[in-house]
Point group: C2
Chain length 350, copies 2
DNA sequence: ATTTGGCACTGTTAGTAATTGAGTGCTAAA
DNA sequence: TTTAGCACTCAATTACTAACAGTGCCAAAT
């Protein structure tokens, strides 16, 4: 990235930058000096605006597609623009009400809550919405069930405090009484720990425990593996929305999104880092991943009232209404937080 | 569809039809009389071929995009072509070997077997591959687990003979001893029945049973609902492949496929009927669903050695190498059959 | 020192016209 | 019944033009 000559953008220059970006987002066409003069009330002539825009281009915030075209923002331009949107625009009240209404159906289980959320994000943004399920390994274990299926097959069912249920079949021969004993033991020792911790502890605990059978130790190892293999769930909706966006007339961007949709692990990789940041985060163009160079990603994390457990957001074109979309993501995350908090409270009632 | 005047296509005419379609599939361009004469050894002049093609057009098997263009097949043309591919071309041996190799990893659980299969179908066809999981309601129950999570929450875990695991949380207050008793009872009465039957029986059985608690009856009702709510699993891969196909330069087809990918229930609706047919089935254009008018679907069912339990196949452009693709789908289904048979046998060893 | 009007220059876009070429249908002869 | 020949059609390509939107820069104005 080019170095910015004047560290601080002069007030007026920055107003011009904003105007250009705002106009470009609205119209999708490169904006020229006269369009600026007409649409925004700078008391400046087109000529002056031209020279200011030329400066902004030198600074790296604008470009033009060709000599006789207007200016469009560079990634750095968008960046500066977004960074200056300090105050989140509130969604209209009726909009918020509408969102809440959408949630009214089945939100008892966390899966449907999140899948619903992803749909809502996509539907309201008209872009692609996604929700990364509670960062699996941070979840607290509530219950471990070991179900004997046959003499050599055990079904492990893990249930977390947030309502996540995971199961996995493992092959092992073990006596049914021992199994039961192990189950009791594991539950007493691991309940309340996060999956991550549990995976480590399980080995240690079983070692301490006077196991009658060598097999039990082996089984514990398997279970530990099962926990480690758990993949974060991720929901994604509205991938096809990008096909309607006029900015993309090549298939490249669409293909890339469809690929992400199929290789969720890659998506997890990309947005997984956003878990750490509690605020709204906007990544423009290739900032988060090179394959997303023509897209922007708005994310935020959500929590169960205690700690951050997942990430949600939208993926859309670089030319999007950042203010509105940031507000949307923000509102939705608030609502999800609310639901999760209530779910947690229900748990404690037992 | 237009009525066919001569019931039986004269031998030569049908050879011409095949040649046209074959050439069109290869090149993607409308084929003209001279191209036909050069590429295939009819001992006929372009003029004769022209008149034959004109006849075929009158019969409804061919069209022109415009006056001075060559011929392309209509859906009916493809249909006739496909119908005449009686003998399935065998896949090359090395190809089959390659497929089997792909399967080598984790195929213990039915989920991964099927998900793997879908990927393989997509990868080898370069189109979209899909696998509909064992028609859920036909599955035989192997085990029902009722796990008490809290005083008011029960986790129902259903396990079928094919290795499918489904779970669902339900809210109800019930005594833990009663729960255990009910579990034993349900297992003894329902094991071996299909989910479909079980959902009906469960009510009847609990009615007969002298339930100590009214609650148990209610719970049984819930469980019955859970079973009925089970959705068929479906795996789909390679949606983005259609973007690479030159035939589609509008986004419409791509969008339609992406929508199918998100609304799996619609896909289930479309291909669900193919369960009945044991052979390879090819549906061209809108034959199966109007939204797929520019695509063809090749499906076949697969079984666990006993009865048909699912459908797999590919979705691609109408202009595809039907012989090869039919052979592919056929081979893959054979292999899946093999795996499922082996899984079933393992089960019986217990 | 900044702002501004004027002006030459540049590249896109749209429209028109001319040309080419592949492929057809039809007819009349083989 | 087949074939050669011919007139015809329409899509695709190319070339050219005119209009246009915008820029950069300079010299005058503030």
């Amino acid at each position: 990235m080019r170095q910015v000559s004047e560290n601080i953008l002069k007030e007026r220059k920055s107003r011009v930058l904003h105007a250009v970006i705002h106009e470009y987002i609205k119209t999708g066409k490169p904006v020229g000096s006269s369009a600026l003069e007409k649409g925004y009330k700078f008391n400046l002539s087109p000529a002056t605006l031209r020279s200011l825009m030329a400066e902004l281009e030198r600074d790296g915030y604008l470009t033009h597609p060709h000599t006789s075209a207007g200016r469009i923002p560079t990634d750095a331009g968008y960046r500066a623009y977004v960074d200056s949107l300090i105050e989140l625009q509130r969604l209209a009240v009726e909009e918020e009400e509408r969102i809440k209404k959408e949630y009214e159906k089945k939100t008892k289980e966390i899966d449907s809550l999140l899948s619903q959320t992803s749909k809502i994000l996509s539907g309201l943004s008209n872009y692609t919405g996604f929700v990364m399920a509670p960062k699996a390994k941070h979840n607290e274990i509530r219950n471990i069930e070991l179900i004997q299926i046959s003499s050599e097959q055990i079904l492990v069912v893990l249930l977390t405090k947030t309502g996540l249920v995971k199961h996995k079949m493992i092959n092992i021969c073990i006596d049914s009484e021992d199994l039961n004993e192990l189950k009791q033991f594991l539950n007493s020792k691991l309940r309340g720990f996060s999956l991550e911790e549990a995976a480590k502890r399980i080995i240690v605990e079983v070692q301490k425990y006077q196991s009658k059978q060598q097999e039990m130790f082996k089984l514990a190892g398997y279970i530990s593996n099962v926990i480690e293999d758990i993949q974060d769930d991720i929901y994604m909706n509205g991938t096809s929305n990008v096909l309607g966006i006029p900015d993309f007339n090549d298939f490249e961007t669409a293909r890339c999104l469809m690929n992400l949709n199929e290789h969720k692990d890659r998506l997890i990789e990309i947005i997984g880092k956003d878990l750490e940041v509690p605020k709204i985060k906007v990544q423009i163009g290739g900032e988060c991943a090179s394959e997303l160079k023509d897209l922007s990603v708005i994310t935020t994390s959500y929590s169960d009232g205690n700690k951050t457990i997942g990430v949600l957001g939208i993926i859309g074109p670089k030319r999007m209404e950042y203010e509105k979309m940031m507000a949307l993501v923000n509102s939705v995350s608030k609502i999800v937080n609310g639901f999760l908090l209530r779910m947690g409270e229900d748990d404690d009632e037992r």
